[in-house]
Amino acid sequence: MTANMNIELSPRLSAQVASLAGVQPAEEDVAQAQEKLTRVLAGRATMRRVFNARWLAAAAACAAAIVAMVLPFTASSIAFADVQKHFASFKTLSFVLNTKAQGESISQMKVFVDQNKNARIETGKDITMVVSGSQQQMLMLFHGERVAMRFSTRADKPKDDPLEWINEIRTYKQAAKSLGTRKINGVSAFGWALEINGLHSELWSNEDGLPLTMTIQQKEGVTMQLDFSFDVPLEARLFSLEVPAGYTLKQGDDN
């Protein structure tokens, strides 16, 4: 028997095969399955990333980075200086970080920061990270498994310092380019185009300079959008490093 053999089906089997080959699911079922698949993969991808300690540290620094990113811009515009002022003097900052691929939302994070550089990052319903800026500690909570893990956020090796990219932002010398105005949720907004580490970003504020939203265009059609809320009171428990009742503490991987 060779690989080139030609297999003929009887008319009866051929008809059965044709019938089965013609079976098609409803398009709404295909779409629903695809939507669920996208959600599942985004959740899994997030889970994989958070087990990487370096990514953890970088993610933990995310909130601080957002605070820091506008500081280095030259104050060539009074209005933009007003925007910087909000980032420099807030008591609390909260934002929702929405990541989209090809226009579809693939993950959402909620980030809360206070003036003491404590941060809390909630990744969907599955994972929460609490970072203490003063203690250089991070607590991760895996809600599905009821597991808690503690990590050090101290960077021992300068070249691996996850905050290094923030320093790069601090040395940013270009002026923010004005994008003019547009309406955001019925509010007149003023925009600036920024280039941060080669990524095109747009920051929009209201007429008082209060930042409203920011988009960061990443590679392969991935876009991150951050919607800001400033000085909304945050409960102290949000930044607690205590392991919640019912959670088991496991050793974290600092490597």
């Binding site: 028997m1 690989a3 053999m5 019938s19 013609g22 079922d29 295909v30 698949l37 991808a45």
Partner: protein, 181 residues
Amino acid sequence: MPLLSFPDAAMSADNIEPNIAALAHQYGPLVYRAAYKLLDNHSAAQDIQQDIFVRLLERPPQHVQSWPAYLTSCATRLSIDQLRRQRRWRSFLPFLGDTENTAESADQHVSNQQDVNRLRKGLARLNSREATCFAMRFIHGATIADIAHATGLTANHVSVSLHRATVQLEKFCGDSAARGE
């Protein structure tokens, strides 16, 4: 359009770190449809679709020559395994017998539906490799070479599997048709 002639835009053969999200975006519906044809069940097809891409995420294969062929092969194999599990399970439940879809068929009196059910039952009786080769070749339209690439079998092995599957299916489907099942 034959299944395996789809352009493989998401990935090149040399890419050893496939972008699973992009693959899922491009080929998720293909995988779902491949599973649905064999299982005729939304939840089961959805489970297989998720299972395949989660496995890809956790252990991405290297040097895949054709992603649509590879993914269709995975969907087919898992669906065949599911059919075989269903058949084994029914054998432990004599009171259910072989009555799946009987009510539907009785109501419909549609010969196409009977053909489809008969062929699914036949595939569930084959071994997994032979059933996968048969479904890939005749239901999804893959060439023997494509099946060989996607399954890791030699072309000769695929041909032998196809031959065996065809002989058994001809007998089973002919017999069951004669019995009016």
